[in-house]
């Protein structure tokens, strides 16, 4: 111990060796502002010059989880930290807090501080996240509408319900993200019409809205809307979304909204990414992006699309208009049909979807889940399936992945034979984690073995049309970094005419 102490006394010049402490304080503050609160606090023991550095960084970021259930400690540390910034008039740019919004004491502490944080301290970013998924009950103080310096507002699980709302002073707002927030329609309209600079708009599982209408000149680039009826108290209401803003670059729609029901021509010249997730067939019926009537079609006019993501049931009809020459579509289709009987009609519907996307580089993931797995005889390849016939055209698919559970090989055979009629995958990619204990993974392994069988053995028989077009099959098997087994089947097909 003593020896160490002597060494320390000698090292008056050792700071010149120090690779970080000599940086100017504003830069160290900048670096510290990327750390979580606990990480920032810990820098205080690095050396004496670091003792108080973190205390004045421009960000406060607390989570109640740091305190392992000790609410009192959480409240006291939060209060003291805020008080210090307030008393010393320190610059606070960002305030993040994650807490349970159901305990009255921490809530009243937060309520007390919100006006100071938003108005007196003038934060640019205010982020409140809830540690629970329960719906809104905390009334967020309406002083927020007077926060002139606010640029980014993220709220979760609260009510934003000012009465009456006279003025919105956060004119420079760029981000508005509301998750599980109760917000009256007039309030949202007022915000959107008062804040022309909003670029990033997220409305996730919000209540209180019947329609969301944005069609004035606006600057929104990112629009994310999700709505799961199960979470809402007013679940008989289906929210209508009518957003027609030409600046949009990314649209993300999840759940079951009535989207774009109006008859106007919708046109998104800058749209690069379109994500449609978890859309049930019920909502797809109403999904019209560019529609001239209320038909049951998905019509998408996006001249400059780069990527299109879709996850859900197969839409009844879809058409794509784009001038883009290089774009990708990432399609995850769900199915719970019994392929023993319905493989061909299901594949015909899938073919319609693929045809609409045939200009793009398609990646297709089929997620099939059947209720009761049946134990079948080993694959009987003599069984003739009700192979696709009718108006189908094979479509080139870059990658195909089959996520099948509870299937039988019998129905898998029907699926594959139909699938190869309607699409020509260049690579079939299957992977599973090496864990012999895990039955599901073993099953995935069997899927690969079976795919191989179909490709090779059935090929010799040439019972099916697709077999005549398949020129070459090559199998690659490898482990990847994540301890995952992967098998890729590379297929070479006769050129499509």
């Amino acid at each position: 111990m003593e020896k160490q102490a002597t060494e320390r006394e000698d090292d008056g010049d050792s700071n010149s060796m120090d690779r970080i402490s000599n940086l100017p304080h504003p830069i160290l503050h900048h670096i510290l502002s990327f750390l979580f609160q606990d990480e920032a606090v810990k820098t205080s023991v690095l050396s004496k010059s670091w003792r108080y550095l973190w205390c004045s960084r421009p960000k406060i970021e607390f989570s109640e989880t740091y305190f392992g259930g000790n609410t009192e400690a959480f409240m006291s540390v939060l209060h003291n930290t805020l008080q210090r910034y307030y008393d010393q008039k320190l610059y606070l740019q960002k305030f993040y807090i994650a807490m349970s919004l159901f305990d009255s004491e921490p809530l009243s502490l937060l309520e007390k501080w919100i006006p100071r944080i938003l108005i007196d301290m003038g934060v640019r970013t205010f982020d409140l996240s809830s540690l629970s998924l329960k719906p809104a009950c905390f009334d967020f103080p309406s002083v927020v509408f007077e926060a002139e310096s606010l640029k980014h507002l993220y709220l979760e699980s609260c009510k934003l319900n000012p009465k009456p709302l006279d003025k919105v002073l956060f004119k420079h707002l760029k981000t508005l993200s509301l998750k599980r927030v109760y917000i009256a329609e007039e309030t949202l309209e007022k915000i959107l019409s008062s804040c022309p600079l909003i670029e990033y708009l997220v409305l996730s599982q919000c209540e209180g809205l019947k329609t969301i209408k944005v069609n004035k000149p606006h600057n929104i680039k990112y629009f994310d809307f999700s709505d799961y009826l199960d979470y809402r108290a007013d679940r008989d209401i289906t929210i209508e979304v009518d957003i027609h803003v030409q600046t949009l670059e990314t649209i993300r729609i999840e759940g079951a909204p009535n989207w774009f029901q109006s008859h106007h021509h919708k046109y998104f010249p800058y749209l690069k990414s379109l994500y449609l997730d978890n859309l049930s067939s019920r909502s797809i019926k109403d999904l019209i992006i560019e529609g001239f009537d209320n038909s049951i079609k998905v019509v998408i006019d996006v001249p400059n699309i780069v990527s299109f993501h879709y996850e859900g049931d197969i839409p009844r009809s879809i058409s794509f208009t784009t001038a883009s020459s290089e774009w990708k579509s990432d399609i995850v289709v769900w199915s719970n049909v019994n392929f023993d009987y319905d493989a061909s009609s299901w594949c015909l519907k899938l073919n319609e979807l693929l045809k609409a996307l045939s200009e793009s580089e398609i990646s297709l993931d089929i997620q099939h889940c059947m209720g009761n797995p049946r134990v079948e005889e080993p694959p009987n390849l003599l069984v003739a399936d009700n192979t696709c016939d009718g108006f189908y055209e094979p479509v080139v698919v870059g990658h195909l992945h089959l996520s099948l559970s509870g299937h039988s090989f019998f129905s898998l055979s029907a699926l594959m034979n139909n699938l190869f009629c309607i699409c020509r995958p260049r690579v079939i990619r299957q992977f599973w984690y090496a864990d012999p204990e895990n039955e599901l993974e073993t099953e995935l392994n069997q899927v690969s073995a079976f795919v191989w069988n179909i490709l090779l053995k059935e090929r010799e028989r040439r019972d099916y049309i697709w077999q005549h077009d398949l020129e070459e099959v090559c199998m690659e098997a490898f482990y990847d970094d994540e301890d995952r087994d992967e098998v890729n089947f590379r297929l070479k097909w006769t050129e499509l005419s």
Partner: protein
């Protein structure tokens, strides 16, 4: 010596400026790239001189900053490409290189790059034990053990080190 950046021949027709590093190397930079730095922009607005001398930025750091500015001034590149360029730009760079970069971007007021570099430096410190950070950056611990223990006690809530890396 005049070193042209990648866009040199193309942008030579446009207005360009010469920037000299503290060790005397000169770089020809298009004005559209130079003005992405707030302080260079101010200098250019104030005086006609097309030669800017930076007395505290060395040639290697300056070359990196100019590569960044030129890429971001290129209208032909999409935002996505620029973003992935930024990630590439900081990945694998030594801490000391990042340190000179963050100082240079602070001086030149290149906000975006300053942000990216500072974030990268913070990422290096994330999830690490205090002892690791001291070793890595040659920080001399000038606390007595008692004083250090006292500071740890003050903010006891922050000290749950089970998940941290020390290699």
């Amino acid at each position: 010596m005049v070193t042209t950046d990648e866009k040199g021949p193309l942008t030579a027709k446009k207005k360009s400026v010469i920037i000299r590093s503290c060790d005397g190397d000169e770089f020809l930079v298009s004005e559209s790239a130079a003005v992405l730095s707030t302080s260079l922009k101010k200098i250019l607005e104030e005086k006609e001189d097309r030669l800017i001398h930076l007395s505290d930025i060395d040639n290697k750091t300056l070359a990196m900053v100019i590569a960044y500015l030129s890429t971001h001034a290129d209208d032909g590149l999409s935002d996505d490409l620029k973003r992935s360029f930024d990630q590439e730009f900081v990945s694998g760079k030594e801490f000391d290189v990042l340190k000179y970069l963050v100082l240079a971007t602070d001086t030149l007021q290149v906000t975006c790059l300053c942000y990216t570099v500072a974030k990268k430096m913070a990422d290096i410190m994330k999830n690490k034990l205090v002892e690791w950070v001291r070793r890595e950056f040659d920080i001399q611990n000038d606390y007595t053990p008692e004083a250090e223990a006292e500071i740890r006690r003050l903010d006891a809530w922050a000290w749950d080190d089970r998940q941290l890396e020390d290699d």
